[in-house]
């Protein structure tokens, strides 16, 4: 971004309580560089960091929303959102009461939980095979 451009987000550091918002954004920037440079992926557990009320929302707002928003229905809802910074994903897991149980920022090309899982594909192959065999008989 050009220095004279209007910033896409504006963190008022003077109003922050823990001063952890900007360091986390810097950590994300380092992780994104690492992903491009060496292909290494990173995960940040937002629930492991002391954040004052409202600061988690500040981080989420700063990252914004990009082109992909996937919803997973598995033991409650999960939202997998690519932020406006490509390669930076926000993953929020909810329980069946719609309460957030964990929240991660993944810096990766595609979060692993979105991919079809090997065990499920094995089960699917067996079920489809069995279904076809049943229909043949």
């Amino acid at each position: 971004m050009n220095q004279t451009d209007t910033p896409r987000f504006n963190i008022h550091t003077g109003n922050e309580l823990t001063w952890n918002v900007k360091p986390i954004l810097h950590e994300i920037r380092h992780a994104l560089f690492e992903l491009l440079d060496s292909g290494n992926t990173s995960i940040i557990d937002l629930r492991s960091i002391p954040l004052a009320p409202g600061e988690e929302e500040t981080i989420i707002n700063a990252l914004g929303q990009g082109e992909v928003h996937a919803r997973l229905d598995a033991l409650g809802r999960s939202d997998i959102v690519e932020t406006m910074y490509s390669g930076v994903w926000l993953i929020t897991h909810y329980n069946e009461n719609e309460a957030v149980v964990s929240r991660f920022i993944e810096i990766t090309e595609l979060p692993a939980i979105l991919k079809s899982q090997h065990e499920d594909m094995s089960k699917a192959l067996k079920e489809l095979t069995q279904e076809l065999e049943t229909q043949d008989t």
Partner: protein, 376 residues
């Protein structure tokens, strides 16, 4: 299935997980791999483990065998069980419970009387040397009649049940350090599990009550690694109790800048400043409240505007008052004078000596009260 499937290179398509494992239990309930990965991600977060360990946790948990668990409740208020069973989502954490075989629990089991005790004895015999023993509540050493179950004293039930246990998890401050029953004047002669059992690994999970996900996190750790977690000098898992509330508190910057609430309704309190002067025990209390939080991660006491009372520390009930700042002396002025006469050079040294003395000698001030004393 009529026949086994395999890939072109002969590799068999993976079948169902090993019988008796958590993986098999989950698969039989229709839990998908994605759901399981979500569960493992949340488990890693609750165990304060780095997210990079999620695949390892998934592999270990999937192949974990269901351990038998015997849960004993002694001098307690049932708050620990309430914490665990009431404050949880019905699905994610219940997977942890489905991964254990809870063979005995006074509050939760349907059986009662002789049938209940028979279930405990059968579980102990079948799983001797391998079962987990969970204890909440303190044990009275004075008159055994203060607390009995099916006519068995708490002391006898604990020592008998501990013999075949692979490990013991003491849940709550009563089981870990004596808790409120142990508070001065300790009328029942209450002691902790560790005061009685000396030959078994004991994991202390203090708190009044402990954070529910910390309890399940310890169980998950045992299932994942097959061993007890690293413990601190008073037996607490370091992953949950390794840092003080103060160090992880979002109000810490106000402490560093000297900005304190002086009363519960002054400007400092309204601005969310540090509660140290209102008696916050965060600097001397080690627990996960500041990051794990309560009520599905909603908040924790300091976030609600109340000082930490230090409930996961030994003798927190006798710490000199919940609303007394840690820097204030915890003994009366006459004892302070004795310290001064004894040659302490500065007021700070006097206060420090008193506070250290209070902590180090806390056991000594618990004078046991007899029935005769109570009648006076």
């Amino acid at each position: 299935m009529k026949k086994d499937l395999s890939l072109n290179d002969g590799t068999p398509i993976e079948g169902t997980p090993e019988p008796g494992t958590l993986g098999e239990t989950l698969r039989s309930q229709g839990v998908s791999r994605r759901s399981f990965m979500k569960f493992c991600a949340t488990t890693a977060s609750m165990m304060a483990l780095p997210p990079s360990m999620i695949p390892m946790i998934a592999h270990a948990l999937e192949n974990a065998r269901r351990p038998s668990v015997i849960w004993l409740s002694f001098q307690e208020c049932t708050g620990c069980t309430e914490s665990l069973t009431r404050a949880h989502s019905p699905t994610l954490e219940s997977l942890i419970f489905e991964s254990i075989s809870l063979d005995y629990h006074h509050t939760l089991q349907a059986a009662s009387g002789h049938a209940a005790e028979a279930a405990r004895e059968a579980a102990m015999e079948e799983n001797f040397g391998n079962y987990l023993l969970v204890v909440d509540g303190s044990i009275p050493l004075d008159n055994p009649g203060y607390s009995t179950i099916a006519g068995i004293s708490n002391l006898d039930m604990l020592t008998e049940s501990a013999k075949g246990a692979a490990a013991i998890i003491a849940v709550g401050t009563c089981a870990t350090y004596g808790g409120i029953p142990h508070a001065n004047p300790n009328p029942t002669g209450a002691v902790s599990v560790k005061d009685i059992i000396k030959d078994k690994p004991i994991i202390n999970v203090p708190g009044c009550p402990p954070i529910p996900v910390v309890i399940t996190g310890v169980l998950a750790h045992y299932l994942t690694f097959g061993a007890i977690p690293d413990l601190d000098h008073i037996g607490r898992p370091k992953v949950f109790y390794g840092q003080s509330i103060h160090d992880r508190c979002y109000r810490r910057p106000f402490y560093d800048k000297g900005q304190f609430a002086e009363t519960f309704d002054d400007e400092g309190a309204k601005k969310g400043w540090c509660l140290y002067k209102l008696g916050c025990k965060g600097p001397t209390t080690y627990n996960a409240c500041a990051t794990t939080k309560w009520n599905n991660g909603t908040s924790f006491p300091i976030e609600s505007g109340h000082p930490c009372i230090g409930c996961s520390e030994p003798d927190f009930w006798d710490g000199g008052g919940f609303y007394k700042a840690l820097s204030m002396p915890t003994e009366d002025i006459s004892k302070t004078a004795v310290y001064t006469v004894a040659g302490a050079a500065a007021a700070g040294a006097v206060i420090g000596a008193l506070n250290r003395g209070k902590k180090n000698n806390s056991d000594k001030i618990h004078i046991k009260t007899t029935i005769d004393d109570l009648r006076k």
